[in-house]
């Protein structure tokens, strides 16, 4: 308790609190700009942070990190372009709601879900960090391999209908993830002699392309179609009322809790990352929705404006933020690529994350912990203000102007990750591929999970086998690796359950046909 008080006394200095608030607003704005994400914002900010006192610099980074994960939902809902990769799934139901004139509602659900997910995650960080860090340590090579398989399997639930196209997409992602340096052999492969590909296709520009640039192509096609058919251009949705009914809130509570739990769990595990969390949460919420609400009167279909489809990914992605600091602060092991950037920012101020931080710089360590709590509290009203002012102005810009601006921002964002011109080609290329996949009706989700998880999957399977001296049974060893065995079983269920359901469906159909004849 004393330590929490110490953290608050450090945080409540006017300058530090101001930096946190600035960070929250900046994060919301950065998050809501397609093509710019928290990774890029940090890369730009870290050099400046050098001139700030450590506590102010870190408060600002905490604010940006938390709020960017929430801000990404704003353009996702308004124009179907995710502001950050973490809002990728929010686009589906969010934009569908907005087109029905419920943009304000959708934005409210997104923001409330973010705050709920973020607060729960901050509490977990504050109260359970030491215990959870021990859980994170149980994850070795074998467990990580199983985790990547579980993560990739979560995509099965998203494949409405065409499993084959989903598998093709996942394979494509996995194949592309093999480009570049192979962790197993230490050699670059499939680089075609380009030094830019030694470490693989640069990841941040690729994400910018897949989400930002591809979405722009989509908007352009809409516009071309409107012009051809001479129809009135569809206006961007009005934001409208942001009030959430009490019944809706009560209905979303279970989704918030499950998604936040998923986000917290995934966040604590080093190397799993935000995208895996949103996919698993979205999949879970979809199951719940189909069971309880689908087909009822006045209910939208899943993927066509279901409130759970916004609440789940938004609660999950903000639950990842604070919990990804659990292994970082308590062990010095970053939970994902963004929290890894905290290491650099801290090192500039002579701080090294890890157990010693809490003895040598207890004030700063606890300040970071409580800052996550505080910034999620600030985020609610801040999001309201941003949506009511900045977003309202931005989304009154004509669509065709906005398309140009987004393209520029995407290319700028891609370039600023490493200041390499090659990144711009990556963004454009990835955008074109994602757009072609959309035309061919191949889902993008499995490819992205394959890209995100491919490298880790390959390395952790190879390393597990290296340790087991080639014994594949190591993955299902219930004595030494029970976590892996359970996760693989869960992954298996994710594949089998829909197949069984399909089988039952088929039999029922045949039965009905039989009766008729």
């Amino acid at each position: 308790m004393d330590q929490i008080a110490l953290g608050f006394s450090e945080l409540l200095q006017p300058a530090v609190l101001m930096m946190l608030t600035i960070g929250v607003f900046a994060g919301l704005v950065v998050g809501s700009i397609p093509g710019v994400n928290d990774n890029i914002a940090f890369a730009v900010f870290i050099p400046f942070s050098f001139n700030l006192p450590a506590e102010q610099a870190l408060a600002l980074m905490v604010g940006i990190y938390c709020a960017a994960a929430a801000g990404g939902a704003i353009p996702a809902i308004m124009i179907r372009v995710p502001g950050t990769a973490s809002a990728l799934l929010t686009t589906i139901n969010g934009n569908a709601m907005a087109r029905k004139g419920q943009a304000g509602q959708a934005l409210s659900i997104a923001m409330v879900s973010s705050v709920v997910g973020g607060l729960l995650s901050a509490l977990v960080l504050l109260v359970f960090a030491p215990a959870l860090a021990k859980v994170a340590l149980r994850f070795g090579y074998v467990e990580n391999a199983a985790l990547t398989i579980l993560g990739l399997s979560s995509v099965v639930g998203l494949l409405s209908g065409n499993v084959l196209k989903g598998v093709i997409s996942a394979m494509l992602g996995l194949l592309i993830s093999t480009i570049g340096y192979s962790q197993v052999t230490g050699y670059p492969r499939y680089t075609f002699g380009s030094i830019n590909l030694i470490e693989g296709i640069p990841f941040v520009p690729m994400l910018v392309g897949l989400f930002g640039v591809a979405a722009v192509f989509d908007l352009l096609r809409d516009q071309a179609q409107e012009r051809r058919e001479n129809t009135e251009a569809e206006k961007l949705p009005e934001i409208g009322s942001m009030r959430l009914g009490r019944r809706l809130i009560r209905r979303l509570i279970p989704t918030w809790l499950t998604s936040a739990a998923i986000g917290n769990f995934i966040g604590v595990l080093p190397g799993a990352g935000m995208l895996m969390a949103i996919y698993i949460a979205y999949d879970q919420a979809g199951r719940r929705f189909r069971k309880h609400f689908a087909g009822r009167k006045g209910e939208a279909n899943w993927d066509e404006g279901a409130p759970e489809g916004i609440a789940a990914p938004e609660a999950a992605n903000n639950a990842v933020t604070a919990s990804s600091m659990v292994p970082l602060l308590s062990l010095g092991i970053p939970g994902n690529s963004t929290s890894a950037l905290f290491i650099g920012a801290m090192a500039l101020h002579g701080l090294v994350p890890g157990p010693l931080l809490f003895t040598q710089h207890a004030d700063i360590a606890w300040m970071i912990m409580v800052a996550f709590l505080a910034c999620n509290i600030i985020m609610g009203p801040a999001a309201y203000i941003v949506i009511r002012t900045v977003s309202r102005v931005i989304f009154s810009i004509p669509k065709n102007v906005m398309v140009g601006v987004i393209v520029l921002l995407c290319l700028l964002g891609a370039y600023s990750d490493g200041n390499n011109l090659f990144n711009i080609w990556v963004a454009l290329g990835a955008g074109a591929v994602a757009y072609l996949m959309k035309i061919a009706n191949i889902p993008l989700g499995p490819a992205i999970l394959g890209l995100v998880l491919g490298g880790q999957m390959e390395a952790s399977i190879a390393n597990s086998l290296s340790i087991s001296r080639g014994d594949w049974l190591v993955f299902v060893d219930p004595v030494n690796h029970p976590i892996s065995a359970v996760m693989l079983l869960a992954a298996l269920l994710m594949w089998v359950a829909p197949a069984l359901r399909g089988l039952r469906h088929m039999r029922a159909n045949r039965f009905a046909k039989g009766q008729r004849s």
Partner: protein
Amino acid sequence: MLKSLLLGAVLGTSLIASASAQDYPTQDIDLVVPFDPGGSVDVTSRLLAEAANKYLDGVSVVVSNRAGGGGVVGQSFVSKAKPDGYTVLAMTSSVVTNPQLKGAPYNIEDFTPVAAYNLDPEVIAIPASSPFQTIDDFVAATKDRPLNITVAGIGTSHHMAGLALTSAAGLEFNYIPANGFGEQLQAVVGGHADGAFWPMGEAMVHAEAGTVRILAIASDARDPNFPDVPTFEEAGLNIPIWATFRGWAVPAGTSDDTVSFLSDLLKKVFEDDTYQEKMAAAGFDPIYRDAANFQSIITAYSNQVVPIIEDNGLAK
């Protein structure tokens, strides 16, 4: 006639040379960090630049990150830059091995070393919970079965430190390559690997925190912070020094005056108390080796690793 012409030419060139020495630096110096912001090379470069700017008049050292290709993109950029002293590379040991291991399009001769500011000796680290208490326990265990050792990557200087131990002392290891230090730390602290080969700079804080134990250090003297940890030589491992280095280099062809200006600048930085404190706090041991000294460090490192690369068939 010819004599006076020659004299004139010599005088002229020396005049130009001295003029250019006075003229340098007239604009900001780009310190190219071939990695993303926040890594160890970036952090040390920023600490250096901050201190260096105190000693520069009207111009400054500006850190610019040119990440990609595991450092190769930025390194190639500097190798092709104009040798005017305004493009400086934050040089690491990987410059020596990248042409062979990653097919980097430059040679080590394309760079002129300026000065070294940090040497990071290799250590053998194991989990705090490991049954090995001393380096002798560790060595004895490798004779039973190859130990699982996590390293920063196949072909890195840390992997090669292990290969060197195999040829010098007959220890056998099973290497588990990792992507980044965090992944290795998780494997060691969680007990998923038997140990790791790490640079002291990264291992130090975790050893001080008691989550890992350092068994031996590949340096010519014991580390004052760990007086009980023997050197590799003392432990009978037959490797006097194994260290990665960090320093400044400029494109080959840069004038000697410019190189010595930059080298002197780093010397002033090294003697700066605030810089010393900040480097130590961030976990780096500040040193200073002038251009000639740095060249011999590079040559020694090259002589150490090139045979290992060739003997183990690591070259691309």
